[in-house]
Symmetry: C2
Subunit: 654 residues, 2 copies
Amino acid sequence: MRSDRLGETLLPKRIALPVFASDALSSVAYAPDEIFLTLAVAGGAFATTHSWQIGLAVVFVMLVVVASYRQNVHAYPSGGGDYEVATVNLGPRAGLTVASALLVDYVLTVAVSISSGVQNAAAALPFLKGMEMPVAIGLVVLLTAMNLRGVRESGSAFAFPTYAFMIGIIGMSLFGFYRSATGSLPQAESAQFGLLPEPGAEGIAGFAMVFLLLRAFSSGSAALTGVEAISNGVPAFKKPKSTNAATTLLLMGAVSVTMMMSIITLVNLTGIKFAEFPGTQLTLNGTPVGEAYNQDTIIGQLSKTIFSDFHIGVVFISIVTGIILVLAANTAFNGFPVLASILAKDGFLPHQLHTRGDRLAFSNGILILAGAAIFLIFIYDAKVTSLIQLYIVGVFVSFTLSQTGMIRHWNRHLRTERDPKERRRMMRSRIINTIGALMSGTVLLVVLATKFIKGAGFAIAAMVVLFVIMNRIQRHYARVRTELAVEDSADEQLLPSRVHAIVLVSKIHKPTLRALAYARATRPSLLEAVTVNVEPEETQALQDEWDRRDIPVPLKVLDSPFREITSSVVDYVKSVRRGSPRDVVMVYVPEYVVGRWWESLLHNQSALRLKGRLYFTPGVMVTSVPWQMRSSEGAEERFEGTGSGAVGSVRKGK
Amino acid sequence: MRSDRLGETLLPKRIALPVFASDALSSVAYAPDEIFLTLAVAGGAFATTHSWQIGLAVVFVMLVVVASYRQNVHAYPSGGGDYEVATVNLGPRAGLTVASALLVDYVLTVAVSISSGVQNAAAALPFLKGMEMPVAIGLVVLLTAMNLRGVRESGSAFAFPTYAFMIGIIGMSLFGFYRSATGSLPQAESAQFGLLPEPGAEGIAGFAMVFLLLRAFSSGSAALTGVEAISNGVPAFKKPKSTNAATTLLLMGAVSVTMMMSIITLVNLTGIKFAEFPGTQLTLNGTPVGEAYNQDTIIGQLSKTIFSDFHIGVVFISIVTGIILVLAANTAFNGFPVLASILAKDGFLPHQLHTRGDRLAFSNGILILAGAAIFLIFIYDAKVTSLIQLYIVGVFVSFTLSQTGMIRHWNRHLRTERDPKERRRMMRSRIINTIGALMSGTVLLVVLATKFIKGAGFAIAAMVVLFVIMNRIQRHYARVRTELAVEDSADEQLLPSRVHAIVLVSKIHKPTLRALAYARATRPSLLEAVTVNVEPEETQALQDEWDRRDIPVPLKVLDSPFREITSSVVDYVKSVRRGSPRDVVMVYVPEYVVGRWWESLLHNQSALRLKGRLYFTPGVMVTSVPWQMRSSEGAEERFEGTGSGAVGSVRKGK
């Protein structure tokens, strides 16, 4: 997309909702599962009696967070993401913390969403069972390829599956409630099972029980992932941007909450039993069902129960759930490179991740994201339950710092604002953000307390590592900037007095002759050809041919007692510089250009090493004189590598 | 080592024997084991009744091969290795076949010798048991580091352990025979065991029995590996070189044969039972001894039996066996890079493996060898029995082709030689080499027939792959040579009419100013600075500072609708060339030089990409103007990478 076309497409609410909400809405595909399997630790009817409480707690947090982000949307109509809000209001260290959390989170969004998508699809497509990990990795590779090739989803590409998912889940729920009201809702297949507590959790009570409930609540908080996406996307909304974004945020919260509570209620109505270790925890007539039992996801079991004989309904739910989860993963493929680019612009990541004049920047980001996600999927065998332990902590680090930043934001504005009406509005916003910050912080503490050893610790460790790396990168760039800054004294512009040109020669062939001709064309003060005497016979042959051809440049032979080219040349160049320090030395290196990657391994290796060494020698310029071999024709584009991967259409993400 | 010092040290026979024979002599540490465990397949007393026959067959082949190579030594006093003999007499395809076989064999020499060394050491150092694979890999890494650092063993470093091994094995044997003669030789601990045949091999007879005997013979032929080493080393001998080398060869054959037959005899005298699967094949009172039984190597069992209470003797034998096997592996670390260098000189391998002016060439060879050996040790879990299946085929491919080449050699010389005495000598040599070729060929067929599916097939496959790769590399170099050859018409030397210099500018800092100053010093016909307009504000700021500083070079701003630097610059350069095709364009790229590897990831990436693209554009020179950052000071040497790895002292090997 040309830069003068960016920002042309503004989204109405009905398109913005699916574009920005796929990540958040897709969370209901795994959040209820995590609540039920955590509660199942206590066995028996514990899940049935407590799941709705957990659900309500999650809904409450969700509403608080949505209310808080509505304040962000109004305060930062330019689309300040959590990174920007934290940086502006709390300083660069807070911003960097948020950035670390978000980068880790993007990776987990891909890993969790894809893994869950495969698990959900497997409910209707049984041949996927047992193949989840390779299929998930295959899907990540596919997404990566699509994003590298710059396939851009239009808003409608998002709209159709997201609405299909919403209609599917809500329609299924309504049908379920109708069947329940008319007394025709059957029990789920897993309702017949007994549910054993995990060893050590029999008759759980007191602190242990509270801890288990908190753990279930932490897992259920996965439903909140992706809520912040809209706050980044405000500029993409139609006017009035902030108001439309805030309304969309509310809509998204309402739909998400409705879907989640419906699912929890229906699980209890149909008597579904769901456990982390179904083989040992689920019993039939007192004996465990064993590893052969295949436990479908909750949505899978619900659709099979509610739709009974209507197989197409089951397949429909399974497929739309799978698709929205893949879409959710895709939002990370847009968000990660954008965030990386912003961080690179601020000097926290290598410049080559910043888009400035570099269409490969996004490709780099996409490949890093994909590599990390594949690594996680491989390590955790595409198990959503394991991956989710790492997931939630980053989200709440980011929520908490962003909301704390918003409190500072309002404090600052209240110091200058005099209009009483406006002040009232700001104070109300500040109260909401304060509640949001306290709530997010509390959830963060709960998540850390209940999940740290289960995996959140790894996520924290990854964030710390990223933080330290980004910090060091930034310090490095700052140091370089200082060192390279031009003082206003003009002595840097002092011209060298003469140019001493040296053409490196190993044998006489077309590249050498071209290098000689070009070097002569620059009319240096002094021009000589230099060769290193490694094998005396070869050197003599070269000297003879040189004389025979009557080449009008003197050939100097450097002796090399250690039969080593690089050092001999470098030493000679240094001696030239010592002899006349105000001269600049220009070393011409003839090189071949070949078309195939393996061919380039066969050439120029010693030229490459020599150039590397000469770069360390002050007062030297190194000129490559390329000779294009026939095989290089048309290979120019191939050299460019991983294709366009152009700037993503609408910039979405966290 | 300086090139004018090479070849100074000539070896007397007493030093040459250990230097060149460690590989061949060390084979007796594993060859008898392989004979016995193969025969053990048939169970019972089969090994006792047939091992001496197999031993004699191997001795016979050994003597024939030694006699044959004595002819090579006389015919090629310059030290023609098998590769050279095959190339000269049978053509490059035969030479390449031998080279492929030898390269594969060097890798196997390292893998087999080190694995066997660790197994033998474990007989006296029981804490090594179960850790064989990591310890073997550790040893390879150690050898690699030593060879990369250019640690050179003097002849005496070889002499001591090799003589210690010879004295140890022969002394132990003599002591064993003495105890046997006086009736005081005890039975080995494993003599009490019964030996079950492997399933399916009970009551073996007829063809199956012959096949098993042939298989045992193939395995025993491992004793011949390394015999050819002396034929490479003739120039290192004191005069008369050929005669001394031939004598040393005979000595080596005699020692090797003596040691092997002594070991086989003593195994039968002490009743040692040795099986590939000791846990199931060995029985005590009718029941298998189980996996807990630790089977020592044959030399380990022999020393424990013969020395009875004399523990120091056991440890001595174990350690000298381990050391000579490590020395044998080390010969491959000398031989592989030398052969690779010769092949690179002949254009079959990348030039950077050839020493010409490149002290890193040997390091590359060493690293490739070490990597491949570690891979094999890892894959085969340091199991000598598995590795040996791959080993012997390469040796006999090389023997057979080399001996066949020798027949041709004598045929050619007989066509011109008129002196009847000399002709008689040549005809005798031809007979010996013919017998050698037939014998080697037969053994090769036996090895292939008995080992192909057990592993020799993999070795053959590796050789075929190497052959094809080396063939393609050679064709590529030939094509390049043709394309680059200078016709005698002088139009290549036509001077370009003018030089159009372009300095790339992204911002104004010291590197840019240096590049501008240097470019001005070369006084081009036309000089301009060029920047790409990616972000209009930045470009405007640059333009303003340019004017403010009054830089005496015009600044041209290239528009970039796709916010992409590389293409804009390349397109501009092409348009300049189109405008005046007889000009040459010189592009100056300011670059930073940093000292640490991770810093270089943070810089110059877009410069690197741009240079890569410009190389494909005809009529362009690319000049890097390096700016040395403070952190680069003293980093020059570090950049050089893997240290010296200088040319090995005495060039040994196959």
